[in-house]
Structures are given as C-alpha cells and as structure tokens.
Symmetry: C2
Amino acid sequence: MSTAITGEILIGQRAIDNGQRSLKAVNPATGETLSPDFAVAGPAEVEQACVAAWAAFDAYRETSLEARARFLETIGDRIMDLGQALIDRAVAETALPAGRIEGERARTVGQLRLFAQVVRAGEFLDVRIDPAMPDRQPLPRPDLRLRNVALGPVAVFGASNFPLAFSVAGGDTASALAAGCPVVVKGHPAHPGTGELVGRAIQSAARECGMPDGVFSLLLGGVETGAALVQDARIKAVGFTGSRVGGLALVDIASKRREPIPVFAEMSSINPVFLFPAALAARAEELGKAFVGSLTMGAGQFCTNPGIVVALESPDLDRFLKAADSALSAYVPGAMLTPGIYGAYEKGVQALEKADGVQVCARGTVGEGPNRGRAAIFSTSVSNFLAQEALQHEIFGASSLVVRCKSIEEMRQVAESVEGQLTVTLHLEESDYELARGLVPVLERKAGRILANGWPTGVEVAHAMVHGGPFPATSDSRFTSVGTLAIRRFLRPVSYQSLPAALLPESLRAENLSRLPRLEDGKRLLP
Amino acid sequence: MSTAITGEILIGQRAIDNGQRSLKAVNPATGETLSPDFAVAGPAEVEQACVAAWAAFDAYRETSLEARARFLETIGDRIMDLGQALIDRAVAETALPAGRIEGERARTVGQLRLFAQVVRAGEFLDVRIDPAMPDRQPLPRPDLRLRNVALGPVAVFGASNFPLAFSVAGGDTASALAAGCPVVVKGHPAHPGTGELVGRAIQSAARECGMPDGVFSLLLGGVETGAALVQDARIKAVGFTGSRVGGLALVDIASKRREPIPVFAEMSSINPVFLFPAALAARAEELGKAFVGSLTMGAGQFCTNPGIVVALESPDLDRFLKAADSALSAYVPGAMLTPGIYGAYEKGVQALEKADGVQVCARGTVGEGPNRGRAAIFSTSVSNFLAQEALQHEIFGASSLVVRCKSIEEMRQVAESVEGQLTVTLHLEESDYELARGLVPVLERKAGRILANGWPTGVEVAHAMVHGGPFPATSDSRFTSVGTLAIRRFLRPVSYQSLPAALLPESLRAENLSRLPRLEDGKRLLP
C-alpha cells in the first residue's frame, strides 16, 4: 500500500487532477497548513463519479454475497495496511489523540467486517415465498417471491468529528456497499488527507476483488459540490452525519428533485441525562467526575455528547456539580476540529452565558494554542428551560446545561418538552425504579436509545444498536446509521410473481432457497 | 350491529354532529343523492380526533400482542356482521358490482386476520439482543436490546376506488393498528355511508375489546380537513392512496411541519405490460381478450391498471389488437366512481386522442347513464413515446397505450424511459427468456412487482407482496402498502442499553425472550 497523498480526486479506479487545488488541510492544534493542496470536485467530476457509479450498479448489486463480503473485509485489510501513516495524518488533521484514532480505526475495520457477516448471513435480503395455490377458491394464488434489492448509487457525506468511522469508509459507506449500492463519498474538507488514504485503500480493495469500476468514488468540496451530488439523477439515496442546517439543506434538495430520494441525515441531539435521587445520593461525586469525562471526550465533539442534565434540586446535586467543577478544572482542552467549529462553539457558549435565568456552574481551563474550546457547565430552572426554546439548541462541543427540577413531575415535563434525541440516559438505583417507570414511555417516544447507568458517548457497533431517533436527531426515525440495521436504509423490496425460474434472481430459485433465511408462507425457516 | 347511517363524525367512542352537513353521497350510476347528509370535520373535530388518538397512544402501543390481534379479528367480525347492508350501500355509492364488493369485503376481513397473525407471531418487533461482554478488551460491551415501537397516531386517507380494502378498515388502518398506532381516518367523500358503517364496526370492536378510547376516529371532509390532519403535531405518520397531485401535496405539508413526518403515498403508475414475440405468436387472441378484461375491470379504476403495452411490431401484434378491439366492443361500461373521476378520464382520453403521432386502435361502447367512461386503446411509435413525456401520465380509467417497437432494443429503451411503477408485466414463452433476461434488471429498478404471464390488476395480500415502487408509484420505494411488510411503515427501532429488567419492556425481559423470534448476538433464534 502506497501512503502517498496526492490531493487528486478519486473516480472509480482513476485519480484525477482538475487543477482546482483550492482546498488546504490545516492542523487545528497548531494552525499550520499541511501539504499537498487538494483538488475540489466541480460539476464535471461530480457527473463523472455519478456516471461511473451508475454504470457499476447493475453489476455490483448482483455480485455474490461471498464476493461482496470479501470486498468489505479487503477494504478493512487495506486500511490496516496504511499503518502508522494513517494514524499520523488523522492526528495532524483533527488534533484528536493517537489513541482515539487507533480506536476509531479498529471500530471502522470492525464495522466493515461486521457488515461482511451481515452480507454472508443473507437475512438482509428478507427472502419471502408464498407458494402458488392453484386450487384456491374463489381465485388461485400465484407464486410470489420477494427479496430486497439495492436502491442505487448512494451519496455519503463524511462527518467532521469521526475522520474514519463516520467518513470515507465509515458506517454509511459500509452499509451501502453491503446493500449492493455503489458509493460516491463527499469527503469532509477538515481531513482530506485522511480521506484520500482511506479512499485509496478502497480503490485498491475494489481492484483486488475485481469489483466494477465506479463502485466507489471520493470527491472533495463544499456546499456546491454536495448539492450537485444530491441533485444528480443517478444518485438514489443519501447518508449524512452533521449539522441540522446541513442535513435539512440536503433533505430539501432531495425532495425537490424530479425523482425525490430518501435522505438519512443524522443531525442534532442534546442527549438528556436524568439523574434520579437515590443515584445522586449514592454516588454524586463519581457521577460528576464521569459526567465531565463524557462531556469533554474528543473535546465534546460527539453527536451523543450529554448536552443537558436533568436532576432534582438537592444537596446531592450540589455535590455532583462540585465534583464536576473539580474534574473540569483538571481538564486540559484539546484543539477542536476546525476554526469554524471552534468559533461556533464559542458563540454558543457566549449566548448561553447571557441567556435569561442561566447561571454558570463551572468553566474549564483555558487551553494553549488555537481552537481550544473552554468547557462549560451551566444551570437553569425548569420554568426557564421551558420558556426558552433556544436553550434546547445543540452546542457542538464540551458545554452542558443542568436543568434543576423541583419534582419528578418537573423532570417529566422536561422530558416531554425536548425534541427528538439520539439518546437519553438514566442514572438510578433500585429505589429510583418506581420514579423512573413513568418516564420510560415518554423517553421511548423521544429517543432512539435509552441507556441506564452509563454515558451516551460511545456507540457500540452491534445488531441491537440504534443511532437514530425522532426529528431533529435524524430525518427518519425508522432507521439507524450505526449497527447492522443501518443496511435497511439502502434496500427496497421487489416481489416476483409467477416468474419462470430462468428469469428469477438466483437467490430466489428453488435450488438456492434453502441456503438463506426466509419466510415461507408466513413461517420463518433458517438455512 | 346497527346498520343505521347517521352522517355523524366518529371520534373515539363518540358520534358527533357539528351541524356542518354539507357532504352528500351520490349514486354515480344514476346521479341520485343518497341520504343522509354527512357532517364535514372542521378544525375542531380534527383536533379532537388527534387529541383522542394521542391520549390513547401510550396505552394502545403496549397492549399485549394477543389483545391487539383479537382487536383486529373483532373488527373483521363486526364488518361481516354488517351483512347485506354494507354491500348494498357500497354498491349504491360506487356503482361497483355486488360481486366485486363482496370480494373486496373478503379481502378486507382477510387482511385484518392476516395482520392479527403477524401481531401474534411477533417478528415485526424485530427483537435483538447483544448480551453484555464485561471482560471484552479494550472496552466492555454493554447489554443491548432492541425492539420496534409504534411511531404514533397515523393519519389514513381512504381511496376512492376501493371502498373497503383501501379505505376506513383497509390495509393502511390494519397495518397501523397492528403496529400499535392509533388511527385517524380521513374517509373518502365518494363513499361516506360505506365508511361510516365500517367506522362504526371498528368503534364497536374497540369497545368490545376494551381498547383505549381514541384508538380510532373517522373524519370526513375535503382538502382542508386532510391538510389540518397532517399538520396536527400529534400525527406521526401518514398513509395515502390516491392521485399524484394529492399525494405530493401531503408529502409537502408533512415536510414543512415543525417535526416532519413520513408519508407513504401510493400515487401514480401506468404498469407497463411487455409482450414478447413467441408469446404473441402463440396466443395473440387470448392475450388480447385477457388484456381487455384487466383493462376494464372495475371500469379501469385500479392503481395497477395496464396503462401501456410494449410489443414488437408484427402481424401477431395486429392479431392481439384485433382481439382486443373485439373484446372491447362487447364491454358495457359501468359508471365510474365519481363525476370528477369520469371528467378527468374523458379529458385524459381526449388529450391522448389529439396527441401527435398517437392513433386510436379501439374504442369501447358508449354506456347508458351518467359517468360511463368509454374505454380506449391507442398506439404510438417508440420515438414518439420517448419524445412526449405526457404520454407517460396515468389516465385513471380504462385507457391504454400500445407502444410499437421495432426491436428488442427499443423495448429496452421504453423500459429505461418510464418512471417508477407499481408493477411491470411480462408475457413470454420459453423461447422468449433469452430476450427477456436483459430486461429484468432494468425492470427491477423500475417497479415494486414483476409478474409473468398474468395481469397486474389483482394484488394478493400476502407476505411476499409488494404494492410499492420507485417514485412516482410511491413516495418511498422502501415500503409497501399491501402485504404484511406494510407494517414496517409505522415502526421505529429503539435500543435499550443496560436497562434494569424492572424498566425494560416486557417483551425484552429475560423470562419472555424465548417466546419471540429474535436475533441473539447475530444469531437468528425462533420461539
């Protein structure tokens, strides 16, 4: 594996230099510019990538399950082959610690391997057969067979905050490729070199596995590049992780196409954490310290960052806050991902500082060097929280608002008042269960994941994971972007009625049916 | 079961007369007005129905699977109890033959019973468990459990053309209730008395089964009533069957809400039928006659009506058309569903008659009485079809356009040029398979159902059915409105992480897990 970074655009197996090298990578920890300059994809390159993806589609979606699984695994292998060069470049481009990047690489490669298992297991095809009943009265039943097919080429928008796991070969790409969809990635401009390295690893894996040219392309650019990509008629679905403004803009573009297409946008969440009385009484200090650990992880730049804490006013809450204050003063902030993200964070914190009825509980230390966000914990009353919608807005970074409740009923009111969330967290002891029981149905309506006695940061890639939730957490609460269910976003069912075996897809022919999990006349059968 | 029709609005267990009795039922076969006058729901009634649905939601979604299944079955029983009164009223309001209405009732009741089976089987919950791995390195894995939960109250828009099966207790209502969603139906104003009878059957079943008040409401009205319903914040999803204009209007309203919600709109399809050479040679006359049977069924008022026929120019095609002409001249048209539908049909046929390069192949007889659409078969060349987008527009009624191809390549071009479809049909013999093979991948991209040697009208309610397809057939090709998969539209996954058993939903507790189909650590296990 070569680890040279050329700044070219990757379209299928080609690397293209269109001369528009206006994008520079910056080390946010130092402000220094990293070489090389990167080519920004214009309309011509967007079109070339989409044409290539479309040309690859019919062949790629009918690759055997084994061949597709091997492709996913090979991508993982080629990413590992990048070795230290990938870690170094990602650290330089994101200011995230090397340990975090190594963990994220493991997660990314593990995710590709998990989707390879999903592909091999074949359950995602949702094969169903309702055999013909020629003698049924009053009308015969025809032979009906169903399988899921891939939607078509998918546009994936890399996120700033996970340069590997939610980026070029992240969960959106892995699940779309697993579904049988070619992928055109619009890489995040905050880590273009990391993106290119991973993109070349995918190119290499595609070549090695004999995948059709165009199964993968990587474009860099800004809003215009992204808009052109979503507008291209050959793109049939979009996966996005980022801001509410960005996600809604893509949803809007997709809905105005001649053929509207689904967009799964993971956007905005403040991830409420509910502290119940007995838990606070038993372990206020421990909770305060752990809260700050979650709040400041990755400089607070997690979709699942604990942005509000909801607790009963009490001396135990004061102990919690004191412990948080103490932990915060020991926290040395790392640089945030980009000057833009840092600027938005500072603006958000300043607005919160000035908001009516909001008190500062604790501020973190001032970091040395550019782009260091000063962590912040604020507090406010329930009535104040309910009166000001702006207090619910996500501040991307290490800022959190403690909502002081006078009663469990007020905790319930806060729960009812918040918008849709990726996660809600409960800290409780057995004696809190009775109080919490009434809250769970409310929280189920609000969030994609409910967790107890842990912290929302850290999203396991698993079969039972949901990284999704009601609007504005995502644009469609019926899906998830993490975990094996993420593949569902990119599949649609097709029913085949009385089709001769010669024309049926292989997986639905009599001789192959028993190799796949299937629903036969309503009965679940396993291979 | 009382079979009195009062014209009142049904909100939960109440029947309300708001004095706004401006809607009259009309017998389209005679033009006579049927009594009584019906109350049109205004903003107050829309709100009451949504408030009631919201109040019922948390209780209804946690009813036991057995109780919910019994409720669905009881609705079916109470519909059957309506007996001849239901048949008579539906015939009077739609001009459809009694035999058709009886068949549709059987389908409707069968559909409710099928969803009862789906509920009992529990697979729709998609239960998943990834057990904790406390010793995993470098980080432990928490206990993760997942189930699907109901989205919330669903607005269902009844269709004009299926007064029972796609209406008050039709597939949308059955699948939403099965998912655990309360339902507010906006009944179609073309058959208000039929709707009220069925609505009262549901009321009665809800009472008998002890379901929460508000689990079901039935509103009548026009565009404003429907818009108010979709705008109500308590409504969390929409099911619609109807026109492209109507469906797109609802999608637009839903997308502009403070909290956008998913709309499944089944809208527009011309259901191409491909006639392959050997099939035409072997059975041109039989095909021509059967084609007219499908075309004129229910006065052509089917979503799956065969609106275009694609065939190779040949003497066999002429034989086919001659047989169709002969069958059409023996067809006595029934009245269409409403004067509005009849008027739109006539306008569409007149436009086609005048379109460049379009020839009349056959016209049906002129019917006696109002609202009789004269059936029509037109033909045109491929180049003409490709040049005029308007030739692809659905004409709702018994009109079809034969596209004459000079080669198989031209058949493929037509297939590539059409928009998304509910169905595509192939008529072929074994010697056609080779020609058809290249077409199947194209058709898979275009339609939700591919059928061979049959006709698209007649949609089996089954596990392997798809009544859906790419835009504009529906607003989201990942779902279907017929068949057991229809339930997926109204469900979202929730993940529970490390939740104490006392707070877990019953279905996810250790002692109940083995009763449900589930994915345990990626392995499929059956009860």
